[in-house]
Symmetry: C2
């Protein structure tokens, strides 16, 4: 195709720009935030497409259903909102039978139940490939949604959990047997955990910006920097690399669904880390700092080099 | 496939049944209604799939974008709610270029603007076929959403506008030239009008049930009857057949997006008809009556015969 995903998104966002004053966050962030009644309604949509996001001979329909909901909850979480309702537009091919679809629905239900979300509607169509398009709404106190554009020079860059596991899982899927770390990586690939409660903790400790790492750390960090009009210095030595992953998978692999956030002080990082560990047993790694301009990495030897904002792009 | 759309929808609805008390209307109606802040949030989703709902060599991307929004607004209208926000999960194939996508976005914007709806987010993926999955939210005063299950014996069956035009337009698309009626039918096929304001008028006059005619009058009427546990006697002679359509297209053709509703009295029908004519220049035809049980039609000669609930099913 004659365009990158980023270019096309930016162009479409311009077509829909200049929306009304009831929209706090429109296109271009993890999810939209709009006034609704007395609260702010959060709305996000994401699709899993056969042959692109999954293969039916590799992923079970139950895992697939779980993931279709989870990736949307991750976007709601990245706004520091509470997910509430989901709808699904499902396109089915001739190759799937009713049992497959029921397993898919069961996996969706499983994830919904785990996070107290209600799937309240949907639509079915047929097509050549299976496509699962899910939309999730969420609620947030008006004005409290955490956007991508609030990072400021001096802010501490943090990330939850570990990185590269999902990419490693994808790489290891064809193996016949796995060790414990590899098995965990596989699980992260097929059944990611949206960091819903974790996002609330980070918000309470004053995050200035937040995004979920869906297209790779380098690319998603570059999006925060672009939206906030700042730079970043990433310390590659401090990345929480998943035990089955390579450092490149941690830097550029997609689908980890961890939270990348900026916090204003060392004290805030320490307090958030302690609470995340107590409440969820989830680590919080400090991996760099926001700077005025430039997008650089400190490599394994401590040398500074330019960081390429490369990762998963659907159209390259 | 080994199932009909109706069977599969019913089965999936069971998987998601028993939802919380904050959901007034869950799966199985035109759209979902759920408590949100002080009002009721309405949420619906619908997808247009290449090769099933449209062909790129026949439909312009601008019309397609308009229609992708319009079909969702029609579902919100059928709940007697006001549409507010939209999101779109777009799957693009290698065959479309950026200009095509921008025209599509332009058409979506056009329909959104016409009905004061804001498209607040979306997602892009690639795939073998183009799929446009749109979700729209709406607002309604708590408890005032109009469902499918409120029709009662003795209610008057009414429908807005005309029927069969969209089906005729699909049939006539391959012709080289068209008369005025045929041109209007084509327009109804590529660019349907959601009856948003009209639904509000019907609601004010006390409709007991409402549905938008998307899969054909006979099939959609059968859904109202099944949900309400009643029957219907449809007077085929009184159908408002579009001038370019056959009576079978009016009875079974899909995609008209007119409103099919039940009103409790002759006075309500007369008052709603007068207001719809004044405010929108849209006709309201009385086409039958709700009965205790049975699903029958009065044919051209006034003879009663069984009515088959046949129409558009994605999986037959």
């Amino acid at each position: 195709m004659d365009f990158s995903e980023t270019e096309l998104l930016a162009a479409i966002t311009r077509v829909f720009g200049g929306s009304g004053s009831r929209i706090s966050v429109g296109p271009g962030d993890d999810a939209a935030v709009a006034a609704h009644g007395s609260g702010d309604l959060v709305l996000t949509t994401d699709a899993l497409v056969e042959g692109v996001h999954f293969r039916r001979d590799v992923t079970t329909p139950r895992d697939l259903g779980y993931k279709a909901i989870a990736v949307n909850l991750s976007d709601v979480a990245a706004m520091a909102a509470s997910p509430r309702y989901a709808v699904c537009a499902l396109t089915l091919s001739e190759a799937v039978d009713a049992a497959w679809v029921m397993e898919l629905a069961g996996g969706m239900r499983e994830c919904c139940d785990e996070f107290a979300v209600s799937l309240v509607g949907g639509n079915l169509a047929r097509g050549r490939d299976v496509t699962i398009a899910v939309t999730v709404t969420g609620e947030v106190v008006p004005g409290r949604a955490v956007r991508r554009d609030g990072a400021r020079p001096g802010d501490h860059l943090v990330v939850t959990g570990s990185l590269g596991g999902a990419a490693a899982g994808l790489r290891l899927a064809e193996q016949r047997s796995w060790n414990d770390a590899e098995r965990d990586a596989l699980r992260r690939h097929v059944r990611p955990t949206p960091r819903v409660g974790e996002a609330g903790v980070l918000a309470r400790h004053g995050v200035t910006s937040m995004i979920d790492v869906s297209d790779g750390l380098a690319l998603d960090l570059s999006r925060v920097c672009a939206a906030s009009d700042v730079g970043a210095r990433l310390d590659v030595r401090r990345l929480p690399v998943h035990p089955a992953a390579t450092s490149d998978e941690a830097l550029r692999g997609g689908e980890d669904y961890e939270l990348l956030a900026t916090l204003p002080s060392h004290e805030a990082v320490a307090a958030a880390r302690s609470e995340l560990d107590d409440a969820f047993g989830v680590a919080l790694a400090e991996i760099g700092v926001i700077i005025e301009e430039g997008f650089v990495a400190l490599d394994e030897r401590g040398d500074e080099r330019p960081l390429e904002p490369e990762g998963w792009d659907h159209f390259r």
